[in-house]
């Protein structure tokens, strides 16, 4: 029996995390964020799990991602919000597939109305300087929204959204105050959005004032912590992604011999290496070599040498490791698996990037 090489996503963990986050942010609701292939977890399966857990809203970056979910069978009882649009987007596909666009400009709002999209959310920039209309553009945007409403347009402003910088609690609260100004501006034009949403995973936990009607939660639903000083377990979350690989071969190496391209590692003593078939083309950074450890059975072993395009090497010493054995790259530390945060720290990044960049070549299964 040979181990599975790929990502196994624990559906029960996704459902449990949804319940945990739901309880924490209540009475605010959740917009379950499944953009970027559900942060690498597989968008369709993750979306189905969250819907089964009670999600009424899903969030994606772009309309194509929303359409892919509809095609995968997410029915129209579930709302899908998308906020990043091509410059010439006409929103006809959004209307056709019932994807609700968040609009950041007068021209986007007008295009959505022309395509008779039933509902839009207005996206404002409250400080992140990213998506969203900047404050100097609000007056014209809100007036346009008001005019549309009065003219009996079939497009209604259902929501107001912005996104936080997480720079500090004070910065986040400044952004919250700016959001309040946007709400006032809309009210002055006769519009009261039903769904106001600002916080994502981090602020929905750390800055409760920013929750409003819904929190847009991605990372925490996958069981990962958005904080560098609190683990998944500290937050009552279960990491849902487990990455495993089968040992393809074992090979003896004599003391002094080098391994993989550029020989960045040389054996200090006679030892054995296990080779697995995951490499940088599969999304595992070339720099992980010599910096992370994997689990085989009950023991941890270092990854040595540069990660190659389709392979990495593990120093297994004299351990009884055979072809076909399971190697765990990361999973739920509560089960003794390595934490993805250790992989992130090894290359100076965050857990979000490590999971979201596992490539499309890697098989995903949900259990």
């Amino acid at each position: 029996m040979s181990a599975f090489t790929g990502i196994t996503v624990d559906r029960e963990a996704l459902i449990a995390n949804y319940a945990t986050v739901s309880e924490r942010v209540s009475p605010a609701g959740i917009i379950a964020v499944v953009k970027a292939n559900a942060y690498g977890h597989g968008a369709a399966d993750a979306a189905r799990a969250f819907v089964d857990a009670g999600a009424e809203w899903l969030g994606v970056a772009d309309i194509d991602e929303g359409i892919a979910l509809r095609r995968a069978g997410i029915d129209e009882g579930v709302r899908i919000l998308a906020w990043l649009h091509a410059p010439d987007e006409d929103f006809r596909r959004a209307a056709q597939y019932d994807v609700t666009p968040a609009v950041s400009s007068v021209s986007q709002l007008a295009a959505a109305a022309d395509s008779e999209v039933p509902a839009v959310h207005v996206c404002v920039d409250t400080g992140l300087s990213r998506n969203g209309a900047v404050e100097s553009e609000w007056a014209e945007l809100f007036e346009t929204a008001g005019r549309l409403a009065r003219s009996g347009s079939r497009t209604r402003v259902e929501g107001l959204m912005s996104h936080l910088s997480n720079a500090s609690r004070a910065d986040d609260l400044d952004q919250d105050a700016a959001l309040q100004r946007a709400l006032d501006g809309l009210a002055a034009n006769g519009i009261t959005p039903e769904i106001v949403h600002l916080a994502a995973s981090a602020a929905s936990i750390a800055v409760p004032e920013t929750r409003h009607d819904a929190a847009r939660v991605g990372l925490a639903l996958y069981g990962l912590s958005p904080f560098d000083d609190r683990t998944s377990a500290d937050l009552g979350l279960r990491p849902a992604m487990r990455v495993t690989a089968a040992v393809l071969r074992t090979v003896p190496v004599a003391a002094g011999e080098g391994v993989s391209y550029g020989y960045t590692w040389r054996a200090a003593t006679d030892t054995r290496l296990a080779v697995i078939g995951l490499g940088y083309a599969d999304g595992f950074d070339r720099d992980f070599g010599n910096r992370v450890s994997v689990r085989i059975g009950d023991r941890m072993f270092p990854v040595v040498g540069r990660v190659a395009m389709n392979a990495m090497h593990i120093d297994i010493g004299e351990a009884d490791v055979r072809v076909g054995d399971e190697v765990v790259l990361w999973g739920d530390p509560a089960d003794g698996d390595p934490a993805v945060e250790d992989w992130a720290a090894a290359i100076g990044t965050i857990n979000y990037e490590v999971v979201a960049r596992v490539g499309r070549s890697v098989e995903r299964r949900t259990t």
């Binding site: 970027a36 772009d62 410059p87 900047v134 553009e137 393809l248 090979v251 389709n310 076909g324 499309r360």
Partner: protein, 373 residues
Amino acid sequence: MNAPLRRARIDLDAYRSNLDLVRGWMEPVEVMAIMKADAYGHGLEPIALAAVDAGVRWIGVLTVPAALRLRSIGVGEDVHLFTWQHDPALDFRDAIDSAVDLGVSNTAELQRVIDAVDQRPARVHLGVDSGLHRDGATPDAWPELVSLAVYTHLAESSDDDDSAAVAAFDRAVETAEDLGLDVPMEHVAASLAGLERKEFRKDMVRMGANLFGIPGADGVSAADLGLEPVMTLTASVAKTKRVPVDTGVSYDYTYRTASETTLALVPVGYADGVPRRAQGRIEVAISGKRYPIAGRVAMDQFLVDVGDDEVRVGDPVVLFGTGEHGEMTVLEWGDALGTIGEEVTCRIGARVPREVVGHEVEGRVGVYLREQP
């Protein structure tokens, strides 16, 4: 129809031109065109069809499923499809039925191949580990193996190491011949060693990165060698905004504007293959002018500070390409990010559609692309 937010243009003319150049260098030695990892992220099928149309008769694709995929889209058995990394649970019967060349590196694996043989003979290449410790049998395990050909893989390290590796390879061939094995074909060198060390070429050279316009040697650009980068990564400006001095940009406000300025939003993020560490290292080109990434790269987007320049929504942004329009090349991305060009192209994500250019509408690539949903 709306233009995609982001796209990778794959120029088959450039690929063919690189192929011609490399085949010229290696003449009379056969070139195996390596297309593992979805053709280094370029998209396997169009590259393979273009290569076959250009006369390539040896293609390396790493795994049996990838080879079977090529057989299924009409790559005929006159083209050798070489594979060398096999899941321990793989059943070799389909590979043998479809005349897929199997690189085999240990007796257990070879036994599984032999057990799977039914009607047709298996085409086996015996792998020798001459130092890289990735594929191939070690010298101790070597004498047990039987094969059609021998191959190994050089670690692109110092010359001494490579010379030692070739010596180990030569000893392995000698041992095989002493044991009564006729070795009709030997292949040893991948891109870099194949270029620089003629004595490493043997009967066939495996070429991958060079064919995609990504040279492997330090300090040598694609242009120096006459190679053309095949992939160009582009996006459209999705939003512009005028912001005051000292405006914090993106998560944690790691960038603050030095004066009143315009920010342009580029809808490509780390999930698409622009690493988070690109801040401060990567510049993108808009209308032929370079601009640095401002603030953290997010999952789906980043910002550039364009000052007082006239940049508008919809303007094309070139992230990397040939360099002809002021943009960085993929080689420069690799250098700037402390890695290699191959990692950059391999990790361009699934959300980035590959737009293939440089093919005849009625040719095989054109027909194949039209049949895709």
